[in-house]
Every structure is written in C-alpha cells, then in structure tokens.
Symmetry: C2
Subunit: 192 residues, 2 copies
Amino acid sequence: MSLRYALLALLRVGPLSGYELQKLFSESVGHVWHAPDSQIYPELRRMEADGLLLAEEQTRGVHGRRRMYHVTEEGARAFSDWFDEPLEYSRVRDPAHLRAAYLESAEPRAAREFLDAHVRQHTELRNRWQSEIDRIRSGAHPMVERRLAAIPEAERGRAVAFKVFAYEGLMERATAEIRWAERGLRLLDDLG
Amino acid sequence: MSLRYALLALLRVGPLSGYELQKLFSESVGHVWHAPDSQIYPELRRMEADGLLLAEEQTRGVHGRRRMYHVTEEGARAFSDWFDEPLEYSRVRDPAHLRAAYLESAEPRAAREFLDAHVRQHTELRNRWQSEIDRIRSGAHPMVERRLAAIPEAERGRAVAFKVFAYEGLMERATAEIRWAERGLRLLDDLG
DNA sequence: CTAAACATGTAAAGCGTTACATGATTCG
DNA sequence: CGAATCATGTAACGCTTTACATGTTTAG
C-alpha cells in the first residue's frame, strides 16, 4: 500500500505520464521503495479509480497516446494523511541477516564470500548515496529541483536540508553494514 | 523462498513439531525473517513434498496427534547449498525511509512524531538485541544451546562468537537508526 | 471443570515478480 | 530504414497477510 504514496510523492510536484513517472521513480523514490513498471501502470489505474488521480488523455503524433496523471485534491489529502498515520514496524524480512545468523554453519570460504559481497554491495550503495547528496547540494538533482521549483524560495533551504538528511540515513546504514561485515571478516581470519 | 531455509536452520539441530518450531521461530530466526504460523504449517507440508523433510506422525494422549519433522539428507544439502548461492540484493522496500524521504512536506509536528517513534522503535530493538547477546554469552539462549549441544565442544566457542556477531549486526543497525533520527529531531528544532 | 497450552490447518484477498506482448515516434 | 526511446499494459504464478476454523491435552 506504500506504492501509492511513493507515486503521489512524485506526482504532487506536477503531472507526469506513466512512462515519465516510471523513469523518475527508479532514480528517486525507487531507492527506498522498489517497483517495476508492471506494478506502476496498474497502480496508477487503481489510484485513478479511487479518485486520487485524474488522467488527462493526450495524443503524441498521429496514433501515439499517453495519459498524464494529475493529483486530485483527494490525492493530496491522502498523501498528507499518510504522514499522520503511525508507521507499522512489524514484518522484518532480511535475507542478508538471515544468512548471517547461521554463518557459523557455513564453510569459511562461503562465509568469506558472503561478507565480501556484503561489503561490496554496501560500498556501492554508500557511493551512490554520497553522489545523490552531492547532486542535491549542487542543484543537479532533477526530482529535487522540480520539487524546489514548486515551493516558495524561503522554504528551499529547509527542503534541501531534509532531503540530504534522508539520504544520510541511507548512508549511515550502509556504513554500519560495511563496518559490521568487515569485523566479520576479521573474525574469520582469527577463528577460520 | 527464504522461509524454508529459516525453517531448515532450526530443524537441522533436531526434529521438531510444527508447533514447537513455530514457538522457537518467533524468538530466534523470526528476528530477521518474520512468518506467521499460517505460513509455517503449509510450508512444512511443501518441504515434505519436496523431500527436504520427513514427517513422523505421533499421537499425544488418545486423540491428539502431531507431526515431528526431520531434516532429510536432501534438506541438509539444500541448507548448505543455500550458503553457496550469491545473495540477491535487489528489491528495497522500506516504509520508514520512504516516509523520511518526504519529511520536508510533512507538518513539523507529524515529522517529530515520526522521528520520535523511530527512536522508540529502534531503542526497543537495541535493548532486545543486547539481551539476546547477553543470553547467548551466558548460555541461557535455548535455541543456541540446542545448536551447541549438536556440535563438538571444540567448535562451540567459534559458534558463540558468530552468533554474537550476527546480533551485533542488528544492534549496530539499530544504533545507526537512532543516531540518525535524533539528528533529524535536532534539524526540526533548528528549522521548524 | 476451566483456562492455558498444545496442535494443525484452510480460505480469500492482496501484493509483488517475471515473463510476455504490442505498437508508435523520433533521431540519425 | 533501423535503433533507441516512448508508451502501456496483461497473465500467471508465488508469496504474504488476515481472518477464520477446530479440536485435544494438561495443570491447577
């Protein structure tokens, strides 16, 4: 059910077609909520049916068509209501830490490979988040710039600070994972 | 598909009934892979059908019955093969950081409540992981003790070190979340 | 005898993944 | 004219959640 809020977050800045949305999605909110296009298109239809969006049918060339989605008042309300609901922190489902929980059963070679891959994965993520932060600060982040253009100038500094803060959360998490996995590698060095 | 490996992890230490498994599950591997009983019972049946488990039908009293599940050789192999597969790190789906990504749009009051709840949630988790670590080190953790009893004495120190290491990963993550959310609260103090 | 614990599921609905399927337009 | 990009979906399958459903045994 979070998918629709992720979509609303992008659309509230301005109307987008399913295709544009999908492209922007994967390089912004997709960082924290993955969804393939085959999930996005039907969800947009459902949101339209639920009155959160209004679709404006456009033509492109002679036979081309596209649907520009606009957020309705009800959609804007749904987005802001979402912030007031307490978040549910129930179901954990973490393949990496599931595996880590039984590392003592694995061959040292397999354990090492797992931890190496974990370090690689999170190093890559950390670099990605760092470059997102750089892009936000330097005014080169397309989705953030769209958002900033839609709010009064006086509020932009605050908005940038919070966007950076959000990515810092991902950075710190990645850093914690790297530190932990590196300690695991040292454990393997010591205990085999 | 990870559920079956979580179940195998518990069963490989010794046979258990669905009920016992479900109880042990929620206080051990359930910390990293949530599953309700309504998912566990059918999955055990499927694993039996796939040859990973063998069910021993027992009676309890006059009309009571239960099924004790034993890991087959094929099941043991499946568990150890699982460690050799590279882990897939694709789909992220993180409600808390999704919300955090749009914190600038929220009312300061709602943002504060969200961050407070985040701190509370992860403080509670951190305490839980710390007490798990204490229980492991003091020999009071039931599932870990079962596991230790099944391996040679010489390997037990190593196994304990790795179990502690696994929980430390959860601890560090919780700590990172707390630090981050507290910085967010200070941001709110400064910027409103 | 009653409550708690033991014991095992089914059903429906929703969410998510993967594969498939199709066609138009624009740029070089 | 061919490739890249624009554009929008459907279908089948599997996983997960929530709610429902039922009965036995044991301890006090």
